[in-house]
């Protein structure tokens, strides 16, 4: 026992010294692998100029349960800004207490993803925002009913007018989605320890985290998980080397195949963004793995063909915890008051 302890201590000592000495090299390697910090400031999005009025309106809509047929479920129900921008459930609860088919992805930093949803079926956040509002197992509403609801409240009518000035018909389902996108653009988490380190602060990562970053790069994780979001940029078969069990990869959910109907897209999913991963258990589209170390190990086996040791998985997980950034601080919105014309809750 004493010998083992000594060896572990020596191993950590060696790792520590190596990491400290090699910060510059590790930083170069990270940059070469395409790892980037979360930028400050608002990311421009296509066909949707960002204004204060639009962002403010989007904040209201994001929290407004009256976008759902029941009047009970808002965007924030499943993309809870208090818990990492998701709901900490395997799959979300929706209309009628149904559960959805896939784990709710975080809304945080979603603007940096190349496309939205696990299968990338929405090109951007404004297209994404229309999905759950209409999904029968989520908010179960219709575009027509949403527009009636919004038009029934004078404060919304006025705010849509100011957010979309000069438009003939500002209160529309499309503009609802644009306003929500504008708010979501603000939901970014800069200044994570990794970002501070990448920008030159050697002390922002622990030695173990630096060792984890080294493993993350050397084992090939960054081949799929890179860019600002450490993922979210492209699509890969889940089980590239070895298909995981049916609990993790249920055979009935064929991923991107359902979007493209292309055989090579069977069980293909967008590489999960790893920002704030420590806040967003459970993991994978099936949401069955609660433990970050275990999720890392599954990735090693399934995607890299590598049986990571427990120590390696734990060290990589410790690095991933350095991707938790400053969470957005949001004022809870005061919502417009209903009128006699507002549709009643449909349970």
């Amino acid at each position: 026992m004493r010998m083992t302890t000594l060896l572990v201590a020596l191993w950590f000592g060696a790792t520590s010294l190596a990491a400290v000495a090699d910060d510059a090299a590790l930083r170069d390697q990270s940059t070469s692998a395409g790892l980037k910090p979360v930028p400050y400031g608002l990311q421009p999005v296509s066909d949707n100029p960002l204004t204060r009025e639009k962002i403010e309106l989007g904040r209201m809509l994001f929290f407004d349960p009256r976008l759902s047929a029941s009047g009970f479920i808002s965007c924030n129900s499943c993309h809870n800004l208090g818990t990492g921008g998701d709901d900490n459930m395997p799959t979300s609860v929706g209309h009628g207490w149904q559960t959805g088919p896939r784990n709710s992805p975080t809304v945080l930093n979603a603007v940096f993803n190349a496309a939205q949803f696990w299968d990338g079926r929405a090109a951007d956040l404004k297209e994404q925002a229309k999905g759950p509002v209409q999904a029968g197992v989520e908010m179960a509403n219709t575009p027509e009913a949403v527009v009636v609801t919004l038009n029934s409240m004078p404060e919304y009518v006025e705010r849509f007018g100011r957010a979309f000035p000069g438009e003939d018909d500002p209160v529309s389902f499309d503009n609802m989605a644009k306003a929500i996108e504008a708010f979501e653009v603000t939901l970014v988490t800069p200044n994570a320890p990794f970002d501070q380190w990448l920008e030159g602060n050697d002390g922002a990562l622990s030695d173990k985290q630096k060792a984890g970053l080294g493993l993350f790069l050397d084992k090939g994780c960054a081949a799929c998980h890179s860019g600002i979001n450490f993922g979210g940029q492209d699509y890969y078969p889940f089980g590239l080397i070895k298909r995981p069990g049916a609990d993790i990869l249920p055979p009935e959910d064929k991923g991107r195949f359902q979007v493209t109907e292309t055989a090579s897209d069977e069980y293909v999913f967008r590489a999960a963004p790893l920002r704030n991963i420590a806040l967003t258990a459970p993991y994978f589209h099936s949401g069955q793995i609660w433990d970050l170390e275990q999720a890392v190990a599954v990735m090693g086996t399934a995607q890299l063909g590598t049986e990571l040791t427990d120590e390696e998985a734990a060290t990589i997980a410790e690095f991933l915890r350095s991707l938790t950034g400053e969470q957005p601080v949001v004022e809870y919105p005061l919502l417009p008051v209903e009128t006699a014309a507002t549709p009643k809750p449909q349970l």
Copy 2:
């Protein structure tokens, strides 16, 4: 037609002049009837010293869906601070998409009520807070499971320690309730137009609102609806003079009788507080009346034995709209991160 219009105009003109002339008298009458403004500052509550740490903890707990068995329902789900402190539903959606037996009362200004719930079965807010957490049709949790959940998250353990310093066992179900009470003490809405008027600003109420206040006092509404909250102070039979229909007063809900088992308490309820009533439709414990004018008319018939004219009901309703105060502005809390020890969602 022209004659009618003229008469209406004359009637309004007379009302207007009378109201302006009689502000001082109306103010005296209001004060004599026990109407009071919402005070600024924190209302002390029994056995629960208010500290910044406790209020801050309570804010987190109020918004934390992990107090429910499902991990989906928080206090704010039914007492939504964005929509007047309630949920704008006849009766609330709870665990398993069940609906509760009574309309969700607003949490705003609840600290000024003599007791909590429609039947007053909780003496104060800290007792109230324990109810929905355990109710099978609401959050469906147990005190034991809540304590396990809270203890599983180091940030909660630390915050309970700071909110309840010197206690041997700070993370308890009782202290959860005390922290929520402390936060709810902050949820008051001062400076409503009526309050401004009562404190001397003649222009804060419109002439119609002053006429409505006059009717409110002359017809006897203030006999039950007085104090800071315009209600919430005592218990009265619903249908004192004439029992409303079964849609409004379902025969199976005997109100305070279920608490006291005293025959004279059949269909007795706490007088509903009228603060922010314009934000909290639908009305009554059964939540079947969406229109404020109609609710006023029902009260006239059921409680006063008076068939109010449409004009009278509308004028009183217009006065009641002056009871909407400044809504609390709350920062949406960042909640503690879960650990492997956190109980999983129980759907």
